[in-house]
Amino acid sequence: MWQGGDTPGEDLAVITFEHVAKSYPDGTRAVEDFSAEVPVGSTTVLVGSSGCGKTTLLRMVNRMVQPSSGRVLLDGRDVASQDPVTLRRGIGYVMQSGGLLPHRRVLDNIATVPLLEGVSKKDAHGRALELMDLVGLDRSMARRYPHQLSGGQQQRVGVARALAADPAVLLMDEPFAAVDPLVRRDLQQWLLGLQGELGKTVLFITHDIAEALLLGDQILILAPGAQVAQRGTGEEILAQPANDFVRDFVGLAAGERVLHPSGSGDRTVLLDAQGRAVGVLGEPGQHR
Amino acid sequence: MIQLRAALDWLADGQNWTGAHGAGVLVWQHLWYSLLAVAIAAAVAIPVGWWVGHTRRGRGLAVGVTGAARALPTLGLVTLLGLMLGVGLQAPILALVVLAIPSVLAGAYSSLEAVDPQVVDGARASGMSELQVLSKVEVPLGMPVLVGGLRSAMLQVIATATLAAYVGGGGLGRLLFLGLKTQRYDLMLAASLLVIALALASEVVFTLLQQLLTPVSARR
């Protein structure tokens, strides 16, 4: 398994957006002028409301969308110069509600790309079973069809399928948006653990700021037209929101994320905007 | 193509259209049989279909009848009734009615099913009686679908009416079978073209009727 890139922060970009823009014939401008770098082995989250152009950006990476201007580089090479089919087989793609093939069993779904690449059925299935272990799916589910799984299980299959060709890059398009909140929390924690193990370069799309703060090493908050309102770590964004848009988006303006210390007893209790206790203040340097 | 020319010449000759066995009478008979059969089928099947559609009772049976009718060979029905009822008009008309009923029935019950249940619910909630719900909401809104059922019944009947001549009835089939017996391919062709013209004319009329009856709100 691919194990490189244990050093996030090292300025080696795997995906580079260079002044990309996308406008449609009807005049809508989904992306105005967007530049960003996705560093190797880390998770970059694009977060914004629906229609802000984040999905368009993601789909430029595997050439599902062609930019009107600008370029997208993958490992320093312009994706526009690469054959789309070969390119896509080398990039893992997880979409909302899985996008699994309803007429293929779980095992064949996971093995889709290796089978397309001409790997023998036996090897592809063997690898698919290992991936089922990796994503925490019982091997007994291998012979089921996607509709015979729960929403959360389908998402795990979706992730396993994306990992099947062992790609260095994973694109995740709101993968957990369609599952219920409890399962979503489970899946988010699971993905964090998995990412700690695999260290893929992940570009993750969400409209949920909590999810972005949880998963993102780097977070880009997008305003309509994919204009970057702020980029940084979660800590930086919460500590120094760049403008009212960001303050509003992350919930600081309405006071949702503001905690008040209440100093009774030997520990500092933190209260939320409504005065409910949500936790205690830890010692400095104790986090993570 | 010489045959086609001969058929068209036959059709263009005014003499062939007059007289007791002229094409004019045959077209008229063909149309008359078809309209009569569809009218009788409508009188029987529309109330039943509305009842099924409104109460949602007996739907399985109605669907079954419609499906089984597709497998029923029309020629078999025409000849069977012809043998049982004797030569004349009764047998072919009865056969045509039997063939028209499933399409009309399907049109009638699905016309009510096509109406948005929320609209029906709203009508009931605003205090309409069941009969008012049916007559003021379901039937008018479902009218285009019902006409669609009548349209396919008419098409089916015009096609099958050609076989009526086989058991002694009139209509354009008489010309066709005359041609077959006397080895006059041009006559068969002329008769066929007339039946096709009738079928397409019926389609055009019913399409216009359907458009006319579509509520203004539902038009695109």
Partner: protein
């Protein structure tokens, strides 16, 4: 039953001929509808033309079509080819719109996912789009099978032998039993072919079977 028992060999022959006239149109309508539907779903103008043409074709009554085809095909009026070609045309007129609808119903997200995984466009159509359209197409094919078997009988009035010959012969000789046997066998044949196609469909499209109760959502979320 005496007529039936005396004529079992004739009935068997006619049944065989009926089957030989029915099967080619059923199979051909499926095979022709697929590439036509592929074109129709990709070229907007052709879609309107093909679907509109199907409706027009379907409006032409069968007996007149049997009569006209010799003009185009150069066959004799009693040739079985008129029947086979005419019923294939009807079959395509039914299957083409059904296939276009079936392809339109395929979840675009699944197609999108297939493309994102690197399916080339033709194999995406054959391996993903077409199988997913399968259940709806199958329903269309069952209608084609039943109406084809029924329409074959009409050819008997022109002298093309099939189970329909039992109707014409029975009527001319005044044997009610013969007509009833023809009716029953024609409907039985339609039923058998219908069930056969449905069964074949379940074998070929196993995922479309209703799922077992309680199979959903066991184990980890």
């Amino acid at each position: 039953m005496s007529w039936t028992l005396d004529n079992l060999d004739v009935i068997g022959q006619l049944l065989g001929r009926h089957l030989l006239l029915s099967l080619p149109p059923i199979v051909l309508s499926l095979l022709l509808a697929i590439p036509l539907a592929w074109v129709a779903t990709r070229v907007r103008v052709l879609r309107a033309m093909l679907v509109g043409g199907s409706a027009l074709l379907y409006a032409i009554p069968s007996l007149p079509l049997f009569v006209i085809l010799p003009l185009v095909l150069g066959t004799g009026i009693r040739s079985q080819w008129n029947i086979i070609v005419a019923l294939t045309l009807y079959g395509v007129a039914l299957m083409l719109p059904a296939t276009v609808d079936a392809l339109a119903q395929v979840n675009p997200r699944v197609l999108d996912a297939a493309q994102a995984m690197g399916y080339p466009s033709l194999s995406r159509f054959l391996a993903v789009e077409l199988p997913l359209a399968g259940p709806t197409m199958l329903a269309g094919l069952r209608v084609v099978a039943v109406s084809t078997v029924s329409l074959v009988t009409v050819g008997a009035v022109l002298g093309v032998p099939s189970l329909g010959s039992l109707f014409t012969d029975g009527f001319q000789r005044g044997i009610t039993e013969e007509i009833v046997v023809g009716l029953v066998l024609t409907m039985l044949l339609a039923l058998v072919l219908d069930l056969l196609i449905a069964h074949l469909g379940r074998l070929l499209l196993p995922w479309s079977r209703p799922l077992r109760r309680g199979a959903v959502g066991q184990g980890a979320p």
